[in-house]
Symmetry: C2
Subunit: 337 residues, 2 copies
DNA sequence: TTGAAAGCGCTAACAC
DNA sequence: GTGTTAGCGCTTTCAA
């Protein structure tokens, strides 16, 4: 058994209470006593039992982060920043993967609160408002991403629509009139795929262009292979396009790869624009034009919001968003004449 | 205050003990009693207090995973798998980043054990044997990666030397005689950069070739920009080479990008081989030949080893390794004549 | 400034 | 099969 406060007190020749005071840096301890206690702590190798402290304080200083998949660049980058932000606030992060499944997400939600007052940051894919009912009363939750409008919960989201508008607008400005879309109807990204499509259509409409469904490739997921497959299908269908808007960078890199594999030059023959501004985008060949939706800012805001929610469970809920901006690189060019 | 076992017992009209039996699925509970208790649990909205349970059981079912950086493909892929393996064992994972700094790693080590008997998986960069002394007695630790030979601790590592030999051997078999190396002396990867260089030299020696230090590029880190910079320096130095072995895939993708940006064709002019087999490698242009060091296997072994260590603190320590194999793709070809 | 002691919610040894 | 109860290690109220 590892030593307890009691053992330390015995060795130091003081009371239980005094040792606790020293550990918690309470002010009213004489310096000599403090030194004696610290010496005793070192001597017996005392380390506090955090489970006992948690029980006593009703507070764990652990938050939970539930993402669909850690093994995707935009999510791992986000997780990395969340961990940093949380640590800065004295919190540690328990990471979970929902694998885009309803049961997975639900398990996360249901387990929330098991560590007393700790909070949950969850990036929902398949959660619906009804799922939240039983959870909300006993847990601090912040929803990430979009996909759910429910003013009983704090939400911290990207500006998907505005970002997609900016991407499309950029291509339109370059003279493109037939812009393919890769990444629609992704079952694992229901919110984002709808909103980014909406942004695309908005931009088209603003330029008086009709929406052409034959230029839209649906995909299973948003990985490279899906991007490659999507654009291949589009090419085979004979649909004519001079530019592609892929709903995330990973898709876009797959698209760019496949186009070049099929002998189309990027951007000379086809322009490609992505979404997320992952680290890899700038070192792709060619470097990828993309939308930076502000993942870093999102992480900061998310942790801040959760911390405030834990501190004030009854404060009004909020919807906060990070800022999106276009990052021009070399995968986009004027439409070929 | 949220309801406790006591509240449930009151509502169900049974004792404290019986409720606990139901929750922990003890066998000796009559079905009707169980139903009544479950109804009461649902009614009052009872959820177990895990801090209390941890305190009572002296066990948290939380393990800690400390990696240099989550935002690197090989680490995030590894973390993702560790989380899955741990979940399968009924454990959850607290993720931390050491940022390759001695203080960061040390903080992780020092904090270990604060959650009672939980264990720590740590990928050490700058830890030395002496750092472990004070920790070992009260914590279950498994060291990941290489970088430390210390038989007081379980270690689960990649086969860096063998992997690097395979990569170099592959290039030698293709007729290359001037093989550049990118990634040496990386301060953040002290173990891996030494071992992979060792593998490279072994393969060279086996073919009777001298080691040429002017073909070795040292780098600050193992990100794309470092790969790009490294190969640029080498080109500027006028050193002649027909192939590049980069110490990881991210470096290799940076190398491949830079070579092509400078008008050298890959693999027609220069072959490139990487290390890690990250997801991106197969969709790069050209798809990257690389070494798959078995990250997935590593995750499985690591969790298994930690679980066994937690169960048997006094069992003899072990050194386990995953298997490395070469994955041939299109970034390597016979030496140009 | 320090000591004594209650009690956080739970599990399980012990009774019946 | 169910009830009673000690005690896990800590923080903190109350007293001295």
């Amino acid at each position: 058994m590892s030593p307890t406060l009691h053992d330390v007190a015995l060795v130091a020749g003081v009371s239980y209470r005094t040792v606790s005071n020293v550990i918690n840096e309470h002010p009213h301890v004489r310096a000599t006593t403090r030194d004696r206690v610290n010496a005793a702590i070192a001597l017996v190798g005392y380390r506090p039992n955090y489970a006992a402290r948690m029980l006593r304080l009703g507070r764990t200083d652990i938050i939970r982060l539930a993402l669909p998949e850690l093994d995707q660049p935009h999510f791992s980058g986000f997780a990395s920043r969340v961990i940093e932000e949380a640590n800065a606030q004295g919190l540690v992060v328990l990471t979970e993967q929902t694998h885009d499944s309803r049961p997975g997400e639900f398990a996360s939600l249901a387990a929330t609160g098991r560590l007393a007052t700790d909070g949950l940051l969850i990036y929902p894919a398949l959660i619906e408002p009804g799922d939240l009912n039983r959870i909300l009363e006993h847990a601090s939750i912040v929803l990430l991403g979009q996909n759910l409008v429910d003013d009983r919960v704090d939400q911290v989201t990207l500006r998907d629509v505005e970002g997609a508008e900016a991407a499309t607008e950029h291509l339109l400005m370059l003279g493109h009139r037939h812009i393919a879309v890769i990444g629609a109807d992704a079952p694992l990204h229901p919110g984002a795929s709808v909103l980014r499509l909406e942004g695309y259509r908005n931009a088209l409409a603003r330029h008086g262009l009709d929406f052409d469904p034959t230029l839209v490739a649906s995909v299973d997921s948003w990985r490279r292979r899906d991007g490659a497959e999507g654009v291949r299908r589009l090419l085979e269908s004979g649909a004519g396009f001079s530019a592609v808007f892929a709903f995330n960078d990973t898709l876009a890199l797959g698209v760019s790869y496949e186009l070049q594999a099929q002998g189309r030059k990027v951007p000379a023959d086809v322009s490609v624009v992505g979404f997320d501004n992952i680290d890899d985008a700038q070192f792709a060949s060619p470097p990828l034009t993309t939308v930076d939706p502000g993942w870093g800012e999102l992480a900061r805001i998310a942790v801040e919001t959760l911390v405030e929610r834990m501190a004030h469970p009854d404060a009004p809920t909020r919807l906060l968003q990070s800022d999106a901006r276009l990052v021009e690189r070399e995968s986009t060019a004027r439409v070929p004449v």
